[in-house]
Amino acid sequence: MRDPKRSSGLERLAEDTSRRGFLARVSGVLMSAAGAQAAVGVVTADAAATYTNFCGHTYTTGNCPHPTGLPRIDRQGMPLRAKDGHRVDDLGRPVDTKGRPLTPAGRLLRDADGEPLAPAPRTQVCAAVAQRYGIRTYNDGAWYRCCGGQVRKLVDCCSPHPKRINGDAGLGGYCYKGRKVFCVQYRDTNVPC
């Protein structure tokens, strides 16, 4: 799956004429033959226009509340700043490994006496959702898509609660054991695509 921003005219031309485009067409034919057209429909470039809020997110479930906005997380589900992947605390401050807040330049943020400012909690985004809404949540299944030249993992924050963060009925998504997607988050891998 491609980032729609990369689906420029040149790229579409390349897809039509290059070996990569040829392979993509062959792949599509084979998958169709295997009865997997529905799956192809999900991962073709045309579907990119259906992404909402951020690359890779299909359907209508809202983002999980996140200290800095876009719901980017790390491997443990902790919040990261979307623009650069820096770890942030629950207040949205960039922090070091000890949770101490940092300046934009990466130095310790200090008070007028020169002492480091007090650290704040850093909570898993999905766990914070559980506390905020008084429900049980789980980081269940995931799906991977290619976004901005690297593989992105779309991670559902799932709950047994029948409703989702939007306020209406939740969807199954990639959740296990009958749980529904309460809100969505993502993790950017270092795998190029």
């Binding site: 200290p67 207040l91 949205g92 200090r110 008070d111 400012l117 007090a118 963060i165």
Partner: protein, 504 residues
């Protein structure tokens, strides 16, 4: 706020009372009255009366409580213009009632008559009571209902809304119940007949109108005064300490400064100044704390306190925060007479904010990776109690006390606030004196080039309107002003001291 709340609640009772003489109120009196007159079983009678009253109170609480909840969720409770608008609506409605103007908008609906024949009396009573209590479902005979509903919405206090609505419902229910219970008495029939003639109703509306005018006059000044009104900034200053006629602060470039009313500021020979009532001042040089007379700066006492950092002062005690060798932080107290050994009031591995002292109460914030809170310790008993605890995703980092008043810095992903309340009341009644943008930079919540949809729940509902950036830090509090240090957001540059004037 209490006075305006009481005024509104009393007006709600009057508005309910006036509503008795609507088609629905009179129909309810007749329905209950004639049925009760025929009813032989006392239990059923009591059930009908109770059902009517409870339903009316619940209906009122639901309508007004819901409006107040919406206003509160929209953040109207802290907005001066909203309170002023509520006062203006009350003023207009009051004039309308005084002049007996036709009610606009009027609800041209009545309680359904058929229910009277189809359902058991207690159920009918509950149904009618609920509809009357809701307020907006049947005829209105006073503008007060609309004005009070607007006040509930615009003042944004769910507690006030529920009390307003319950009182309105009670006001509508009690006359019906009283008249229905004595329905067959000749005096009751005569009273109803007199009311139905009209002039008494005009009188009731005029009372409603006068009450609304009074509320408008009370709410408007409270709204204006209650808002954090004026903020001034002193650049290059931090860590304030305040006492009558004295303001001490840290000038990062030149040490501690003592500003005295009517006198030029003086630089103190140390750092981390603190002042107390009576004109005492303290400062720190390394691990030595000097306490001196604020007028002459003549030292009265010196104390060697290893690891001492920040100070607070009363006329007879020095309170300080110090760091122990193992990194733990301690809040301690020292009798200024020197007669008693220093006492440890609180010890923690988390970061302790600058202590503040008022009377025998020492307050300070304790913040760490597991959460944060404000602790108040009694100097005499050394009993510590938590007076504020930060909720999910929120940090409380600094606190100051003045009498029972409390000011503190509260920060979450959506912004920073200097909040103000009292230790005697719950945190829900605290209000914001100052708001700043979030400490961390927030993105738009959606990726550029992609549609922004279905995403309201993850965004910040009330973004601070202030364009000021920075990090709110140490606080001081006097009877009419709160002082808070604003650190530069980048960590470089001079801090500033913000001074917020308030009343209430």
């Amino acid at each position: 706020m209490l006075i305006s709340g009481v005024c509104l609640v009393l007006t709600a009772a009057l508005a309910g009372l006036t509503g008795t003489w609507s088609p629905c109120g009179l129909s309810s009196v007749d329905t209950l009255g004639t049925s009760l007159g025929r009813e032989s079983r006392r239990g059923r009678t009591v059930a009908a009366v109770l059902a009517f009253t409870v339903a009316a109170v619940a209906g009122g609480a639901l309508t007004f409580g819901a409006a107040a909840a919406v206003g509160g969720a929209a953040g109207l409770g802290d907005v001066t213009w909203a309170a002023l608008l509520a006062a203006a609506i009350a003023l207009g409605a009051g004039i309308g009632d005084l002049r007996f103007l036709p009610i606009v908008p009027q609800i041209r609906r009545q309680v359904p008559e058929a229910v009277r024949w189809q359902l058991p009396l207690p159920v009918t009573a509950a149904f009618y009571g609920g509809l009357l209590g809701l307020g907006f479902t049947t005829y209105l005979f006073t503008y007060a209902m609309w004005a009070l509903l607007a006040a509930a919405l615009l003042l944004g206090s769910p507690l006030l809304g529920v009390v307003l609505g319950a009182t309105f419902g009670l006001g509508r229910a009690l006359p019906v119940v009283v008249l229905a219970c004595r329905f067959t008495a000749p005096t009751t029939q005569q009273f109803i007949e007199d009311m139905e003639r009209g002039p008494a109703l005009i009188g009731l509306r005029r009372i409603d109108g006068a009450a609304l005018l009074l509320c408008a006059l009370v709410v408007a000044p409270v709204a204006i005064a209650g808002a954090a009104t004026r903020t001034s900034v002193r650049s290059g200053a931090a860590d304030p300490s305040v006492a009558p006629g004295l303001l001490a602060y840290q000038d990062p470039a030149g040490g501690a400064v003592l500003a005295r009313a009517g006198l030029p500021p003086v630089t103190l020979p140390g750092t981390d100044p603190a002042v107390a009532e009576g004109g005492t001042v303290a400062w720190r040089s390394g691990d030595t704390v000097t306490v001196a007379d604020g007028a002459t700066l003549t030292p009265a006492a010196t104390f060697a306190i290893p690891g001492v950092r920040e100070l607070a002062l009363t006329p007879d005690r020095l309170v300080y925060r110090r760091t122990e060798a193992d990194g733990r932080q301690v809040v301690g107290a020292q009798d200024l007479s020197g007669g008693a050994a220093p006492s440890v009031l609180f010890r923690s591995r988390d970061a302790i904010g600058r202590p503040s002292v008022a009377g025998t109460t020492v307050a300070f914030a304790v913040a760490g990776r597991r959460g944060s809170r404000i602790v108040a310790v009694d100097l005499l008993t050394r009993q510590a109690r938590t007076v504020r605890r930060a909720g999910l995703g929120t940090q409380i980092s600094q606190a100051a006390v003045h009498g029972r008043r409390l000011a503190y810095v509260s920060t979450n992903r959506c912004g920073q606030e200097l909040r103000f309340g009292t230790t005697a009341r719950p945190a829900a009644q605290d209000r914001a004196l100052l708001r700043l943008r979030p400490v961390g930079s927030r993105d738009s919540g959606f990726q550029r080039g992609y549609p922004d949809a279905y995403n309201a729940a993850s965004k910040c509902p009330h973004r601070p309107t202030s364009r000021r950036a920075g990090v709110l830090s140490t606080v001081a509090l006097s009877g009419t002003r709160a002082y808070v240090t604003r650190l530069p957001p980048t960590g470089t540059g001079a801090p500033a001291l913000l001074q917020v004037h308030f009343t209430g």
